[in-house]
Amino acid sequence: MIYLDSAATSLLRPDCVAQAVYDAIQTMGNGSRGAYGASLGAARIIYETRLLIAALFHCSQAEQVVFTANSTEALNLAIKGIFTAGDHNITTALEHNSVLRPLYEMETQGARLTILPADAVGRIDYEAMEAAVCKDTRGIVCTHASNVTGNLLNIDRIGEICKKKGILFILDASQTAGVVPIDMGKSAIDVVCFTGHKSLLGPQGTGGLCVRSGLTIRTWKSGGSGIQTFSKIQPRVMPTQLEAGTLNAHGLAGLRAGLLYIKEKGQETICLQQNHLMQRFYKGVFDAPKVKVYGDFSSFNRAAIVSLNIGAEDSGRVSDVLSQDYAICTRPGGHCAPLMHKAFGTVQQGMVRFSFSHLNTNNEVDQAVQAVRELAEE
């Protein structure tokens, strides 16, 4: 099997991740619920994972790192826990439903939303973004990279706009965390939402958000915390105020292993390796007859994603043939990003998305190129 769906989840993981989860399940108690070795072992792993996440995103205080089940949960927490009725917010057509749906939900509660359109290759206009800020604007919520095209948004530029206008910057780093550098301070980011199971190489069920010190997110759930047991309310202290209930410490142990692997290997190396594979694939298919590639390839400083169609073929059918006849795993359809497909006119057809891990090989990419070219010539 050739796995080219790493934008969905990192099926190709270093062995240390699975080993860490196995070890955790065998040895860990409930962190912060006891003072014996197995319980403290879990608490230590959670703590160490917070430190690694804080360091990765240059989050100044590790207690501002909150763990959730995934990026969707983190984005819901940030969007619904910060914004209120009467706020105006800005987002882009590049977004995944994990950004769009919470923002639409806020609209039903009286918030207003501006969605910046994408151009013919899926880019946004930063001047239009700045011009969209009005006196009621509370924040910009956007992805770092489109999960459909792989186009990166310029987070330094967006951070500058937010800083200049005095509004919040909430970043969805689902497609870039661990590969493309993110510095909360340098890019003036107030909240970074991340998932553990994609480019951070951890297990599904892990993720979280880093919150700038001083920014309060409303508590969304109450329950066990290991602290202030006799208080009737969820403790108002980070990270506990946003983390009621037992954390997925087994998963976080795997995430920690992924983070340590990334730290040792280097984000830059990982980025170079997967971008090399993405370029190799792009160069192999972009000029094939009937093949249409979507997105901005004027620079290869982008997420390792290439989405395409072959003529008018249903993307689902192409993906199925790739799976059945070539054992190549790709993602067809709408990728939970409706506005991107509206922008490209691919609502019905969808796209076949190829996304690459640094653990893929040149040979795998060449086989995928060959498969696409064969199908295009049929």
Binding site: S32, R33, L40, I46, Y47, A62, I227, Q228
Partner: protein
């Protein structure tokens, strides 16, 4: 039960603070360990750091040098 001894106990507001102190203690060689918070202490966190009374004079420096925050420092028979 066993005879109690007077110990120095540091209390915390959060588990995070407890874990941060434990790591710092291990790194710099400050003696002690995490224990369930004694009932005499009405701290927020269920964990406390227990050390010997003789560490009393070194605690302030240890906390300051490692940017640690505690909820209180107590002498408790444990």
């Amino acid at each position: 039960m066993r005879v109690k001894e007077k110990k120095l106990v540091l209390a915390f507001a959060t588990t995070f603070a407890a874990m941060k102190l434990e790591k710092a203690a291990k790194t710099v060689g400050f003696p002690g360990r995490l224990i369930p918070v004694p009932r005499e202490i009405t701290a927020g966190c269920g964990l406390a750091f227990c050390t010997e009374l003789e560490q009393r004079s070194d605690v302030a420096g240890f906390l300051q040098e490692n940017q640690l925050v505690v909820n209180g420092i107590y002498e408790v028979y444990i």
